[in-house]
Amino acid sequence: MSRSKITNEELLNHLQTAFGEDIQEHNETYGMLNVYVPADKAKEVVKWLKEHEAVKMSFLTNIAAVHYPFNKGKEIEVVYQLHSLVNNVRLRVKTTLPIENPEIASIVDIYAGANWMERETYDFFGVIFKGHPNLKKILNMEDQEYFPMRKEFPLEDQTREDKDNRFFGR
């Protein structure tokens, strides 16, 4: 099934020799390797992966953030999904941030395409990417003061009855 030219173990070995202790944790879900790195190392890891001549992880698939409100001190998880087109292998680089101060270095200078992905992440989760050239809300209104994808903002209660059916359905 797998057509990768490089296995997840080799990939992990490469990373561990280069970063050692900084690879805090790793696991594999559905054939894709996840590595957890500290927030201040994330940019360095991404850059190293892009420039390494054997790994060639030179394609940024997307940047996502996830909010885990019960992980105290590391509520926000930022996920970089990288892809090596040549080796045809994918990798997730994950890092966690505290919700009070979700700051991480921007990778726009490594991947130009990260620009809007980071803006979207900021828009939805409030992750502040330091060094981003234009960190503004992108899909929502610029004056919106909260970050709607965080779990403390549920979609409205479906059982409420004070709404007018002509406009809202239930």
Binding site: R3, H67, V79, A112, F124, I138
Partner: protein
Amino acid sequence: MEDIRKYDNPIFKATRDTIEGEIATLNLGPTHPATHGIFQNVLKVDGEIILSSEQTVGYIHRAFEKLAERRPFNQITPITDRLNYCSSPINNIGWHLTVEKLIGAEMPKRVDYMRIIIMELARIADHLVCTSVIGVDAGALTGFTWVFQLREKIYELYEEISGSRLTTNIGRIGGFERDFTPGFHKKLQDFIKTFPKAFEEYDSLLARNRIFMDRTIGAGPISAERALEYSFTGPNLRAAGIDYDVRVMEPYCSYDDFEFDIPVGKDGDTYDRFMVRQEEIRQSFKLIKQAYENLPEGKYHADVPTFYLPPKAEVYNNMEALIYHFKIVMGEAPIPAGEVYNCVEGGNGELGYYLISDGGRTPYRLQFRRPCFIYYQAYPEMITGQSISDAVLAMSSMNVIAGELDA
């Protein structure tokens, strides 16, 4: 009216600066005939030459990712319809594949082949609209109306199997809601017979016409390196010369059973994008033909009773089936916890679903990797130094679709 004419009024001042200064600000969008959808480009122009551009998106943001956190898995399919509405079956099936990957369901060959037929039809429809709209923006309207006859046939095919034309909600987690109907077989055979001639006629109207070539060659180019930097995928990346295609790199749905080529361009300009899409239509047609000729016998859904609705007759008579029916409809199917990234080759490129499930009724987090959103940010770079006419063509050839852009 007096107020607006005062010099310190910002609106009037901007107008005055535009008239008196060398550099003008030109507002391309949100509603401009060339922005097919609602998004804005504020251009700084010197005469007809674009110096810089600033984009505003989000006019039709519908909070799909948030919405998906409140919907059971099977109710997310209609949301995906509305991403790239030119090829909604690909989005639907991509979502089903993601959930199937999560639950580890094995599909029968017939389902795979049926999916390939539907997805390639959708790709043809998507590319047809895109290439003919390049023609429209270049002023040749007739090809567009010819092509819409072909797209109409594809929509009728969707209608035969799903009951709807644009927002198809086609297929279910674990297969299809129904087998190919007799009407579908008839219309598909007719389509296979008539499509190549009609398509080549349309192609010859534009592809080698000098006026069209002059217009498109060199309009909005992007190099392979920059395209990779910007995470381009799909036809736009292939136009720049890189043959990255999810269907070949990570075959899903038995795509590796089939023979097809990956068309690539050279410079990543509008003409390349046009030609790559045109050739992809031919390749997709080849795939449909192969898949339909070799369509295996079998069931039109997988054997996953906990996720796929049982037939109605059994629901009425069989207690177990009734329980499954209720559980699936209520969204209580036993979805495992896990983290999946699955991607399909959408009309515009790698359409990814990053799904985190905590084993609950709804996804814990679902992110759509929307190719449009990602490559549209390269637009200012592509059009800087070009004329407004080029910018218009570059935009339509990138196939920016507002539904996918804003999600």
